[in-house]
C-alpha cells in the first residue's frame, strides 16, 4: 500500500536533488521502455529514482522534516494551534538551562548512561562467552534470554511496578527468604528509585547485548582458537588475547547503541512513574521532562526546544564517540563507499 503511495508521489517531485544530496529524487519521469534511445545511463538513473525514491521521500517527510521543524518551533512561544507567531528567540533555551528539574533529569540520564555500560557490558560479555561453549539446550537458552527484550516496555513497566510496590511480590519474596530488613519502597523512595530503574533496564536490555556478542563471537573463525590451543594457550589466554580484541567492534557498536538509548529513555520511566511522580522519585529523564513540560503542559514551543537540546546533546556524544571510538571500525566501510 505504502509502496504505491510512494511511487505516485515520486512522479510529482520537482527535478532536483541529484546534485544536492545524491540520487534521491532524480530528474526523471517514471521509467518506461521508450526512453531507451537516451542510453543505459538514463535508465540507470530512472531505476535509482524508482527504487530509492519512495524510501527517501518517506524518510524526509517523517524523520528529517519533523526534526527541522523542532528547531524552528523551539524559537517560539506556541500553544500548538495555528502558525507560531510569538518569536521569543533563545528564551525557551534559557528557561531550560535555568530549570533545576532539567538539571536533575540531565544528571539522571548521565547516571543511566554510565551505569548501563558498567552493569550490562561485563556481565553480557561473560554470559556470551559462557553461552558460546558447546552445551545442551543452547538454542533454547538463547531464546529465553531474549524474551525480556522482546516484551514491550509497557508490559515490563506494568509488571515490574506491580512487583516492586510495597505490597508487591518482590518484597514478599524477600520476606519469604528471610531478608525483611532489605524491604523498601522500591519505586517511591528517591534514594532507591533510580537503582530500581537501573535494575529494570539491565533486566530488559542485557539479553540484547548477550545476543549481539554471541553473534560477534560466532563470526570469529574457529581456526584461530584451534591454532591458539595447539600453541598451548590456556582458555583464559585465548579469551583475553583473541576473543576480546576480535569482539571489539561488536562491543563498541553495542556501547554506542546503549549510550544513545539511555539518553533517549522515555517509555519505562513514563509508564512506571507516570508524569508527576518521576521528578519527585528522582527518575525523570530529559525525554520525560520534554513530554511533561511540552505537550502535557500545552507549551509546544518549549517542548520542541527541549527536543532540540536532547538532540544536540545526543549528537555531540555520538559524534565524539564516532570520532574517537568507532573510527577504526567504520574506516573500511567509508572508503569502500567513496569509490566512484
Amino acid at each position: 500500500m505504502s509502496d504505491s503511495l510512494g511511487e505516485n508521489t515520486l512522479t510529482k517531485t520537482s527535478p532536483e536533488g541529484r546534485s544536492r544530496s545524491g540520487g534521491g529524487a532524480v530528474t526523471a519521469p517514471p521509467p518506461v521502455r521508450r526512453g531507451r534511445r537516451k542510453g543505459p545511463d538514463w535508465r540507470k538513473h530512472a531505476e535509482i529514482a524508482l527504487l530509492s525514491g519512495p524510501a527517501v521521500l518517506m524518510f524526509l517527510a517523517f524523520v528529517i522534516f519533523p526534526v527541522i521543524m523542532a528547531a524552528y518551533y523551539g524559537f517560539y512561544r506556541w500553544k500548538g494551534f495555528g502558525p507560531p507567531t510569538e518569536f521569543v528567540g533563545f528564551d525557551n533555551y534559557l528557561a531550560i538551562f535555568r530549570d533545576s528539574t532539567f538539571h536533575d533529569a540531565l544528571l539522571h540520564n548521565g547516571f543511566i548512561v554510565v551505569m548501563s555500560l558498567v552493569l550490562q557490558g561485563p556481565a553480557a560479555i561473560a554470559l556470551a562467552l559462557l553461552l558460546n561453549q558447546r552445551m545442551r539446550g543452547r538454542s533454547l537458552v538463547r531464546v529465553l534470554i531474549f524474551v525480556p527484550y522482546v516484551v514491550s516496555e509497557v508490559i515490563v513497566g506494568t509488571g515490574w511496578s506491580l512487583m516492586l510496590r510495597t505490597t508487591g511480590a518482590f518484597n514478599a519474596l524477600l520476606e519469604n527468604i528471610g531478608l525483611e530488613s532489605l524491604q523498601v519502597d522500591w519505586l517511591a523512595n528517591p534514594d532507591v528509585a533510580l537503582w530500581s530503574l537501573m535494575m529494570i533496564i539491565t533486566w530488559k536490555y542485557i539479553g540484547f547485548a548477550v545476543i549481539l556478542f554471541l553473534a560477534g563471537l560466532q563470526s570469529i573463525p574457529e581456526e584461530l582458537f584451534e591454532a591458539a590451543a595447539i600453541d598451548g594457550a590456556s582458555y583464559w589466554q585465548i579469551q583475553r588475547r583473541i576473543t576480546l580484541p576480535l569482539l571489539g567492534p561488536t562491543i563498541r557498536i553495542w556501547a554506542f547503541l546503549s549510550i544513545i538509548g539511555s539518553m533517549q529513555l522515555f517509555d519505562l520511566v513514563y509508564i512506571i512513574w507516570g508524569q508527576y511522580v518521576a521528578a519527585t522519585a528522582g527518575t525523570s529523564t530529559m525525554a520525560t521532562y520534554m513530554v511533561v513540560n511540552g505537550r502535557n503542559a500545552g507549551n509546544y514551543g518549549f517542548g520542541n526546544a527541549v527536543a532540540v537540546v536532547l538532540f544536540l546533546i545526543s549528537l555531540v556524544v555520538a559524534l565524539v564517540y564516532q570520532r574517537y571510538v568507532l573510527r577504526r571500525d567504520t574506516e573500511g566501510a567509508l572508503t569502500e563507499g567513496k569509490k566512484k
Binding site: A55, F65, Y73, L130, S152, A215, P249
Partner: protein, 265 residues
C-alpha cells in the same frame, strides 16, 4: 557450573514474565495473601474475562494491523532502497547512505512533538495510518543498514549471468535479489514487527480515542482502570505479549543470523 550459571541467568530473565503469566491464574485474594506465591487453585476466570472482552480484541486488531502494515512497508521500501545503495554506482551514493545512517541518531523521541503536529495537519489523528507511516520512516535506517551488506554479498557473476540471459537490472532485482535476500528481509521484518507491536510513545501522542488504541496503550489504560483488580491486569498484560513472543520464537534463528551479518558487514 556452566549449566548452573546459565540456569540462574535464564531464571532471572524469565522470572518476571512468569510472574505476569502465572499471576493471571490467581485470584486477587490469593495475591493479597501472598504476593509471591503460586496459584492455588488455578483460576481461569481472569483470562476468560479478558478473552471475552470486546476492547481487548479491538486493540489486538489495531496492533496487528499497524504491525503488519508497518512491516510490509518497511520491507518493501527498505529492500528497494538498499538494492540501490548496494549495487548501483552513482554520484552521491555515500551521501544517501549517510543520510539514512544519520537516521539512527534521530530516534522518535526527538521528533515526536513536530511529528504529532504533522500527523495532526495531515488529518490522521486517531487513525492507524497516523502511526503506520511514521513507524515505516523511522524503521528504515535500521532496515537499510542491515540489508545493504546482505545485498552486496550477492555475487557479481550472478548479475552478469542474468544480464547475459537477457534480464534487465530490474528483472534481476525481482527474480534474483528478492529471493536471495530473504534471510535479511525476514530479520528486518521481524524487528519492524516487534518494534511496531511494542511501540508506545507514538501511539501515546497520536491515538487519544480508546477504540483506536493499540495494545500497549490498552494495557496501560486497563491497568489504570482496574488498578485494584491486579489479577485481571496480569491476565490482560500476559495475553497482550503473546503474539510478539510467538513471532519472535518462530524466527529467533533468523534474527541472530541477521545480526551476525550486520555486525560483520
Amino acid at each position: 557450573m556452566t549449566y548452573l550459571i546459565a540456569f540462574f541467568f535464564v531464571g532471572i530473565c524469565i522470572g518476571p514474565v512468569a510472574y505476569i503469566v502465572i499471576g493471571g491464574f490467581r485470584s486477587n485474594s490469593q495475591i493479597i495473601r501472598d504476593p509471591a506465591g503460586f496459584p492455588s487453585p488455578w483460576e481461569g476466570t481472569n483470562y476468560l474475562s479478558v478473552l471475552q472482552s470486546e476492547i481487548f480484541w479491538r486493540q489486538m486488531g489495531n496492533s496487528a494491523i499497524s504491525a503488519l502494515a508497518t512491516t510490509a512497508g518497511v520491507v518493501v521500501l527498505g529492500v528497494m532502497a538498499s538494492y540501490v545503495l548496494a549495487r548501483y554506482e552513482f554520484k552521491g551514493r555515500t551521501a544517501l547512505y549517510s543520510l539514512f545512517a544519520a537516521g539512527l541518531m534521530f530516534p522518535m523521541t526527538v521528533a515526536i512533538t513536530p511529528l504529532y503536529i504533522l500527523v495532526r495537519e495531515l488529518g490522521l489523528m486517531n487513525s492507524l495510518p497516523g502511526i503506520i507511516l511514521p513507524q515505516i520512516a523511522f524503521a528504515l535506517p535500521t532496515t537499510i543498514i542491515i540489508l545493504v551488506p546482505f545485498l552486496r554479498a550477492i555475487p557479481k557473476e550472478l548479475e552478469e549471468a542474468a544480464a547475459i540471459d537477457g534480464a534487465s537490472r530490474l528483472g534481476f532485482f525481482f527474480r534474483m535479489v528478492v529471493p536471495l535476500s530473504l534471510p535479511g528481509v525476514i530479520t528486518t521484518g521481524i524487528l519492524a514487527f516487534i518494534a511496531s507491536w511494542n511501540s508506545y510513545m507514538l501511539p501515546l501522542f497520536i491515538l487519544n480515542d480508546e477504540t483506536a488504541y493499540t495494545l500497549p496503550l490498552g494495557v496501560q489504560a486497563f491497568a489504570a482502570q482496574y488498578s485494584v483488580d491486579t489479577a485481571r491486569v496480569l491476565a490482560f498484560t500476559s495475553l497482550s505479549m503473546i503474539p510478539a513472543l510467538i513471532f519472535f520464537s518462530l524466527f529467533e534463528r533468523r534474527i541472530v543470523g541477521g545480526l551476525t551479518g550486520a555486525v560483520k558487514g
